[in-house]
């Protein structure tokens, strides 16, 4: 039985006790998946599972579990998605007892941005792509009568290259086989390249990038860890943290707010960067914070349901903080 069949079977069995199960279905074309809200038995047939299922569905939970007529929610989760649930549970942001997780093992997700770039480089138009097949390490795209083949590693999301949690953790159900943990590289290639730049170059880079930010807040709205919803300080007038001016500095300030509020919480799902309409490389900020958290406190967000997030506690003698003797 395939992973998808197994998943459908598990959902079918659990559905009578659940108000809704969220998964993915085929989107408006062959290249895209879109979230699917399963409420009845018939909806289950529309469920899909493939590298197109990029969305972190955990972002619905904090709102949905507060909706009056929704008591129990089911959710299909990949490895990174399940970490979001673990982290939210640690912070008591979601009623974990009312959530049923259907875990899967993930071999990586498609980056539409990278694929479209490749297709355009090959002299084709993105609009002409009409089917996609995943064939082991290869991705085959039918575009304008031709079939273009790419290595999966060159068109997957960057987070998948460094992924250490391909299998969903702390779930009630698990469909299919466990996927071997095989990170392709230690550190994200983009971060490694960026760290080679000098401070001046970095500052100039961000100044240039931040002027493109349109402050649509897609990065915030898609983030499973952003739980303030209508009370986000970046859009509040009191306190007035960010002005309405759309300058590089104010846009940068907004990104700083997002990064700081994800310190020790970000599970590197990469949804912020994926959702960004102007492709700002904001994962550079997130990853740096994640590395700092790991180096200083040995903490990986969403990996252990029993752990206490480091910023909610302290040690009298810190292990890795060298106080400056000056």
């Amino acid at each position: 039985m395939s992973t998808l069949e197994q998943l459908k079977e598990q959902i079918r069995k659990a559905l009578p006790d659940l108000d809704v199960v969220i998964g993915w279905e085929q989107g408006y074309d062959a290249m895209h998946a879109t979230p699917l809200f399963i409420r009845t038995e018939e909806d289950i047939d529309r469920l899909i599972w493939s590298p197109l299922c990029v969305h972190s569905l955990g972002t619905y939970l904090t709102g949905l579990t507060k909706t009056p007529n929704v008591r129990k929610v089911g959710l299909v989760v990949k490895g990174c998605d399940s970490r979001a649930i673990v982290q939210l549970t640690q912070e008591r942001m979601i009623p974990r007892e009312n959530i049923v997780l259907f875990g899967v093992g993930c071999t990586g997700c498609l980056s539409h941005a990278r694929l479209e770039y490749k297709v355009e480089q090959g002299g084709h138009y993105v609009e002409d792509m009409h089917s996609i097949t995943f064939n082991g390490d290869k991705v085959e795209v039918a575009v304008n009568g031709d079939v273009e083949s790419f290595d999966f590693d060159t068109v997957c999301l960057e987070k998948c290259l460094t992924c250490r949690f391909p299998n969903a953790i702390a779930t009630e159900h698990f469909a299919g086989e466990q996927v071997p943990v095989a990170p392709k590289c230690e550190k994200a290639p983009s971060l490694e390249a960026f760290e080679k730049l000098s401070l001046e170059e970095r500052f100039a880079f961000w100044q240039d990038q931040m002027r493109r930010c349109v402050r649509c807040y897609a990065c915030r709205n898609t983030c499973p860890m952003c739980v303030c919803r209508d009370h986000c300080i970046s859009t509040s007038r009191n306190p007035h943290w960010v002005s309405q001016e759309t300058s590089s500095a104010e846009n940068f300030m907004f990104q700083m707010i997002h990064t700081m509020h994800l310190a020790g919480r970000c599970i590197e799902c990469g949804e912020c960067q994926r959702a960004c309409p102007v492709d700002l490389p904001i994962m550079l900020f997130r990853r740096t914070m994640v590395h700092a958290m790991k180096d200083t406190f040995g903490y990986i967000s969403g990996a252990d349901p029993e752990a206490t997030p480091p910023l909610l506690t302290f040690k009298v003698e810190e292990d890795n903080i060298k106080e400056r003797g000056w």
Partner: protein
């Protein structure tokens, strides 16, 4: 208190923001003042109830808004008026310190330290050293430039509208 001769070379005054805890470091700075220790005048002090009150975003906001340096000072660990505020502060400030390099802001422009109310001499040393360091670094670069839509895109959109269906984006769609 404002005598700068001998403490600093005669450079232009820079903007240094100091977040001082009410119970220790603010008292320490006061002690230094009462004792008439020479201090640099670049520092603008913001008095906070506890170093634990300091959100790392206070520091980011100050740096983004044009501060050339930010100094945070609280009670020594184990001496917090509220028992453990500075322990939480230490974790947050350390993370900020490690995070700053990726933004291109020099982490040398931010420092955190501990000064107690009786340590007037230590306060003088800390504030002088830090201000000297900021003077060596010079004024901080400011983020310039408005939204991309204001300058670049509007021009492109304007040109596209002028050309009508002959503009590049229309051609692309036609193919």
């Amino acid at each position: 208190m404002s005598a700068r001769n001998g403490v600093l070379s005669d450079t232009r005054e820079l903007r240094v923001v100091g977040f001082l805890c009410n119970w220790c470091s603010y008292g320490g700075a006061d002690t230094a003042g009462v004792a008439r220790f020479e201090q640099p005048t670049d520092l603008r002090i913001i008095r906070v109830p506890c170093s634990g009150r300091i959100d790392p975003l206070f520091i980011m906001r100050a740096l983004v808004s044009g501060a050339d340096g930010v100094l945070v000072s609280g009670c020594h660990p184990r001496d917090c008026h509220y028992a453990e505020g500075n322990y939480y502060a230490r974790r947050r400030l350390e993370l900020l310190k490690q995070f700053l390099p990726i933004t291109g802001i020099d982490p040398q422009r931010f420092e955190y330290t501990w000064v107690s109310a009786s340590e007037g001499a230590r306060w003088q040393e800390v504030v002088t050293k830090f201000t000297n360091r900021i003077h060596e670094l010079g004024p901080a670069p400011r983020m310039q430039g408005g939204s991309g839509y204001d300058e670049l895109c509007l021009k492109q959109i304007e040109e596209g509208v002028k050309q009508g269906p002959a503009c590049p984006c229309h051609k692309e769609r036609a193919l």
